[in-house]
């Protein structure tokens, strides 16, 4: 059954982002180029407080606490892909800045494992190979010393170019889906709690299509399959009955499945270098001090 014809169809998120982008432009902070970019410039965390000026006092207090630990925020478009897009940018930015080749070698092995997982689940290779290739290309390009090496500015531009960015987001959707389906017994109760559907149906309708929002299940699976820890900081109005509050965060720490790899370095390895700010329905990138 049809509902109506969509001509200029905007979601509430688009409109809200549009409005906050216009406000930011008026404040002279963000260049507004007529459309909403998928990834904005880094802003000092004070811009977050400005957003809630005259807003909820609990939020303002929590932002004050956040300001002690985090220096900056980078906003992403609220298009349902914000978690994956934030992860993509922060991960590649981390590699660009750290030039950590050991980490690149490690993740490359995991990506190869993901490829095998998808094949064993019955995915046709031609459906996902272009997405894998594009991610590996981006990974290569943030390492210096080769012909394809790019600067930080180029990384920002590429992450805004949807013909690159959306493909990398889709790569993450493929491997997240593969991980959930591979460990469907583990994920089933979580999926049931969220949607009351089967794991397979959940992956088909809530993981693989672009624009579907991410939940704990997606984050856990992506973190596990790539072996990358992720910190999510929650900013909401919650407080206890006495009115006191704390800024909560949750670290998604990948399970170490290969016990032969367990050594003293692991304590260091499980410290997340990716921090995301979660406000109900949306993820942005946080930069620790």
């Amino acid at each position: 059954m049809f509902v109506e014809y969509k001509l200029f169809f905007w979601t509430d998120d688009d409109i809200m982002q549009q409005q906050s982008a216009i406000q930011a432009e008026e404040a002279g902070k963000i260049p507004f180029v007529g459309m909403i970019l998928v990834l904005l410039l880094q802003e000092p965390l004070s811009s977050l407080a400005a957003e809630y000026k005259s807003g909820n006092p609990i939020l303002l207090e929590k932002i004050k606490v956040l300001t002690e630990q985090y220096a900056a925020i980078r906003r992403t478009r609220g298009d349902g892909n914000c978690f994956f897009r934030s992860f993509m940018f922060t991960y590649l930015e981390h590699i660009l800045e750290s030039q950590d080749r050991t980490e690149v070698d490690r993740i490359t092995v995991n990506v190869e494992q993901c490829r095998k997982t998808l094949l064993s689940l019955g995915y046709a290779e031609f459906t996902f190979e272009d997405f894998f290739a594009l991610f590996l290309e981006q990974l290569e390009s943030v390492l210096s010393g080769n012909e394809a090496s790019i600067s930080h500015e180029e990384l920002v531009q590429r992450s805004r170019d949807q013909s690159v960015s959306d493909y990398v987001v889709m790569f993450f959707r493929f491997i997240t889906s593969g991980e959930i389906r591979k460990r469907s017994e583990f994920y089933e109760p979580f999926v049931q709690g969220l949607t009351n559907t089967s794991v397979e149906q959940f992956c088909k309708s809530s993981v693989e299509p672009m624009g579907e929002e991410s939940d704990h299940v997606h984050i856990t699976a992506l973190s596990d399959t790539l072996g990358v820890p992720i910190r999510v900081v929650y900013l909401d109005r919650s407080c206890d009955d006495k009115g006191s509050f704390s800024v909560n965060h949750h670290d998604f720490i990948p399970v170490v499945r290969d016990l032969t790899n367990t050594n003293s370095d692991d304590a260091e390895a499980i410290k997340p270098f990716i921090s995301l700010l979660y406000r109900p329905g949306h993820y942005d990138i946080l930069y620790p001090k």
């Binding site: 049809f2 459906t127 996902f128 013909s163 088909k204 299509p209 672009m210």
Partner: protein, 161 residues
Amino acid sequence: MTSPSASSRKALSKIACNRLQKELVEWQVNPPTGFKHKVTDNLQRWVIEVNGAPGTLYAGETYQLQVDFPEHYPMEAPQVIFVPPAPLHPHIYSNGHICLDILYDSWSPAMTVSSICISILSMLSSSPVKQRPADNDRYVKNCKNGRSPKETRWWFHDDKV
């Protein structure tokens, strides 16, 4: 944000071209049962013959699907319609438009022409009655000038058929 020109035809991107060539090879090696791709030199529009499955209401009937691929396939869904006369089915409009979530909101690049065909045949096969959607006339009347079904906001209310 979908622009009104979503149905206007832009040439396939390089990635889309590559992908479609791979899908075509895969189809030739392993075509879905009940379907026949009518070979043309047009990679961007596939015409596919559908045979109703034996033992269903559509057994012995043959229909044609027209699949048009957008510039950014597979990131964007293909446009899939029945070439009229379309099968009588509670989710298929007389102008050939199909109310099926995977063709719109639930499309994903993990799907293929072949997997779409299988879903459409399964939708046909599970129908208990040969009839048009209740809002057929209103919908078709409003769909003048070859409007694409991708510009419709669908409501997928029935998961039984």
